[in-house]
């Protein structure tokens, strides 16, 4: 389905732990949105920072009390996200969406391991809801630097069959990286699909572990982006088979990629071992 541009009223903007949550009235986008897709937001009148900001869709409610809504979660990191964090109900956000390629769910019910880092966990709740509707088993692994930077762990607990938490400092769950418990969880749950979203080093590491276990792994990347529509070629990522690496636009061919196709070495991460 072709993405659209909607002028969306802000329904709610609130703090979500260390992050900000923004819910927009976006009936046409909510209707079409699939887990893993993103919206591209432009707020306010100040064009001294002229570009949109892309966010993966955290939730899409097709029949909310105000019509369809989409919710995004973000961290305030600069002028654009600061402006978004100051929005109030009834403000208008110029929104493009739903953009990009969604997660590809299994055809038949399957065990799925969902791995999220920081606010990168955002699209995984939306995905979990779809997977559950397809009678898949969903196990969550979420990690962050600190307990405050975990996104909605309680929600993950509610939606998933199990929840494993890791933090860098041990302030919640076990101390360490999200990848630490993965081999054990893959073996224990018998998951045949891994879905991950978070920082690139994490996605590289999750792809490695999944490849070593012979389990297909889809990752949603977050690349710096200008247009979101495929015309600026900023958000590219090297994908390939080895000798035919090309720069794929993450707004069109992604943001969800097969983790085994990304040329991680070119991005400064160890290459995946070839699977037997």
């Amino acid at each position: 389905m072709t993405p659209v541009r909607e002028l969306c009223e802000v329904l709610e903007r609130r703090r979500a732990g260390a992050y900000q949550s923004l819910t927009l009235v976006a009936p046409r986008i909510a209707e079409a949105a699939r887990p893993g897709q993103f919206v591209h937001l432009l707020a306010g009148e100040d064009r001294s920072f002229p570009l949109r900001r892309p966010f993966s869709i955290h939730r899409a409610e097709r029949l909310g009390r105000s019509g369809g809504t989409v919710e995004v979660v973000f961290d305030v990191v600069g002028a654009g996200t600061l402006a978004l964090s100051r929005l109030r109900p009834h403000d208008v956000v110029d929104t493009l969406g739903p953009l990009g390629r969604p997660f590809d769910p299994p055809e038949e019910p399957a065990g799925c391991l969902l791995v999220g880092g920081g606010y990168g966990t955002a699209p995984l709740f939306f995905l979990a809801t779809e997977l559950r509707a397809r009678r898949c088993r969903v196990d969550f692994v979420v990690g962050a630097a600190t307990a405050a930077r975990l996104l909605d762990a309680m929600e993950a607990k509610r939606v998933g069959h199990s929840l494993t938490v890791t933090t860098d400092d041990g302030s919640a769950g076990r101390r360490g990286l999200v990848t630490d418990p993965l081999p054990d969880l893959l073996a224990r749950t018998g998951a045949t699909r891994v879905y991950a979203c978070g920082p690139m080093p994490m996605l590289a590491a999750v792809s490695r572990v999944a490849a070593a276990a012979g389990v297909p792994c889809q990752v949603a990347v977050e690349e710096q982006m200008a247009c979101g529509t495929g015309i600026c070629f900023s958000c590219v990522l090297p994908v390939g088979p080895g000798d035919e690496i090309r720069m794929a636009r993450s707004c069109l061919e992604g943001p969800v990629f097969d983790g085994a196709t990304i040329a991680w070495a070119e991005l400064g991460h160890p290459e995946l071992e070839p699977t037997a």
């Binding site: 920072f49 949109r52 200008a226």
Partner: protein, 307 residues
């Protein structure tokens, strides 16, 4: 009073004076879901080279005050894939195609122009003499009148289509470069390419772009672009100019038409609004009607140069 938005650009009738600028509209196909490609003034394709180019590593983009830097590095699939795929798509969609060419020397430009001359569905050719994101400054042909003229002559010898030369404002004497390429046969000029710039991440203490430097675009450069069009239009009356640089609204486009541009191209504006090329044209129609002008070509004569 009814307004006729169409303009004559180097003998080609454009439906509107608003084109999509090179490098800011992909190869056009990406935008088919957002706009009616046939309704645009024209689509200047992302620059095409003889061989495929991968482009630069990331980060390729950095937002800056009222603009952005890019160092894409001319990523494109090469002329053969372009002809087999995107060009055919654009032709079938009824778009007015301006093929943008880029090469490393005049010979490459000439071979590209010759290869495309046999292809249907191209209205004009734009010679990208001024992309700042190249390996060597010597590939920015538009910084030197003689080098720029040599490339234009090679392209003119190989194509029967009208040729636009895209120049940079990063020179001491733009008029000298413009005169050289017109003397070499350029039918028109596109002014201006991005300006060479640089931005630094002061926390990480390193450049914000992987390529270190990049091309500055967006509203930040519009006054420079308007000045360039004005200077060249004054010095070379009668040479058609496509004005480009920071156009987001119809008023922005009107600035260029008032100082002598025949047409305009929307670049970075399409990143902000995928329908910008259409909306700028619609807004121009209203602007012309309000100004009492029957066509875009009448605007330049209505400009009051004395303040």
């Amino acid at each position: 009073m009814s307004v006729d938005l169409s303009v004559d650009l180097c003998g080609v009738r454009l439906r509107t004076p608003v084109l999509a600028a090179s490098g800011c509209f992909g190869f056009g196909r990406e935008m088919a879901g957002w706009v009616d490609l046939a309704a645009l003034g024209g689509i200047v394709t992302k620059s095409v080279s003889l061989e495929p180019r991968r482009g630069r590593p990331t980060p390729r983009m950095a937002e800056t005050p009222s603009g952005m830097l890019n160092a894409i590095g001319l990523q494109n699939p090469g002329v053969e894939a372009f002809c087999a795929g995107d060009l055919r798509f654009l032709a079938d969609a009824g778009a007015c195609v301006v093929a943008s060419l880029v090469g490393r020397d005049p010979g490459e430009f000439g071979r590209l122009a010759a290869r495309l001359d046999g292809e249907p569905g191209i209205a004009l050719v734009e010679v990208n003499l001024s992309c700042p994101n190249v390996e060597h400054r010597g590939e920015v042909f538009a910084t030197d009148p003689a080098a720029a003229a040599e490339v234009v002559a090679a392209v003119k010898a190989a194509t029967g289509r009208p040729v636009l030369a895209k120049l940079t404002a990063d020179v001491t004497d733009l008029v000298a470069v413009a005169r050289a390429v017109v003397d070499a046969g350029a039918d028109g000029l596109t002014l201006i390419n991005t300006l060479l710039g640089m931005a630094v991440d002061v926390r990480a203490r390193r450049p914000r772009l992987a390529a270190v430097t990049g091309g500055l675009s967006g509203p930040a450069i519009r006054p420079v672009a308007v000045r360039c069009v004005w200077q060249v239009a004054q010095a070379l009356p009668g040479v058609p100019v496509v004005g480009t640089g920071g156009i987001v609204t119809a008023d922005d486009a009107a600035e260029f038409l008032l100082v002598g541009a025949t047409a305009v191209a929307v670049g970075t504006g399409s990143f902000l609004n995928p329908r910008a090329v259409v909306e700028v044209a619609d807004g121009l129609e209203e602007y012309l009607a309000a100004a009492g002008a029957g066509s875009p070509a009448e605007l330049a004569a209505m400009f009051k140069a004395e303040r």
